[in-house]
Amino acid sequence: MPALNTLYRDYRDRAAFYMVYIQEAHPIDAGQVGDNLKDDVLVSSTMTKDERMNVAGMWVRNLGIELPALVDEPHNGVERAYTAWPDRLYVVDREGRISYKSAAGPFGFKPSEVQATLERLLPAE
């Protein structure tokens, strides 16, 4: 998360940034992992819009996210359109085309590649 905040601070004037909250990766009812137990991050699958808003709020506060955060609808429309689960990075260029798509997270989640893409897309200062 610190890497993303740094990226955001460095490029926020020249690019728009959004965190998009999608369905939980390791909720207690499916796929709970030891690290979350250790850190006391215990969350059920978020089914309703209110649940999503609640947990997304906790997510932003507890992880210290500085980027603006959006919340996917309960039917997971955006997650499915982008094959985003459990986490993934995209850069969309000015023409609305996908300029960078990371490999599926967690293995493919590499903020440094976003930075390289932005350097390519943005005119030199």
Partner: protein, 165 residues
């Protein structure tokens, strides 16, 4: 010493003395070109007769057969496990989570090339250069709604998908 003693079980066969008078002995058996005792406990046993050699060969063939059956069974279990996990990875997230609850996680991540399978299964249809799917979503504090296309012609947009857990 009669034939019954010669055709005795493995442990005793090892300790049998060479009995040339019963037509035995390693040189003779070798001369017949029939020693193929690669993986039996009889390697090194003194062959004391043609019957003894035939007995050892039968044992050897049987052992080999069971060994091969074991290998085939292991391969079948591995392929089935691989297929089941790959199929689970192709399911929507919530179903994948439910299936994985019943899978032995250390085996999935330890015995299978799971990260590579995951990257393949979650590749997705979008490619670089294709139009980004349109969306309008609320901010987490209900303050406003954001439409992706509102940035078109102005600034690149970085999207970071994720969740709390």
């Amino acid at each position: 010493m009669g034939m019954a003693t010669i055709l005795s079980p493995a442990v005793r066969a090892r300790s049998l003395p060479v009995r040339p008078d019963l037509g035995g002995g390693r040189p003779k058996a070798k001369a017949k070109g029939r020693i193929i005792l690669h993986c039996s406990p009889f390697v090194g046993a003194d062959i004391t007769s043609v019957e003894h050699l035939e007995y050892l060969e039968r044992y050897n063939t049987r052992t080999m057969k069971w060994f091969l059956r074991g290998v085939v069974a292991l391969v079948a279990v591995y392929v089935t496990f691989f297929g089941a996990v790959a199929l689970a990875m192709l399911q929507p997230p919530e179903r994948f989570g439910r299936i994985m609850k019943h899978m032995p996680a250390p085996l999935v991540w330890g015995a299978l090339p799971a990260p590579r399978m995951w990257l393949w299964a979650r590749k997705g249809g979008l490619t670089e250069g294709s139009p980004a799917p349109a969306f309008t979503l609320s901010t987490h504090d209900h303050a406003s709604r954001v439409t992706l296309s509102s940035h078109r012609g102005q600034r690149p947009v970085v999207l970071v998908f994720g969740s709390y857990t």
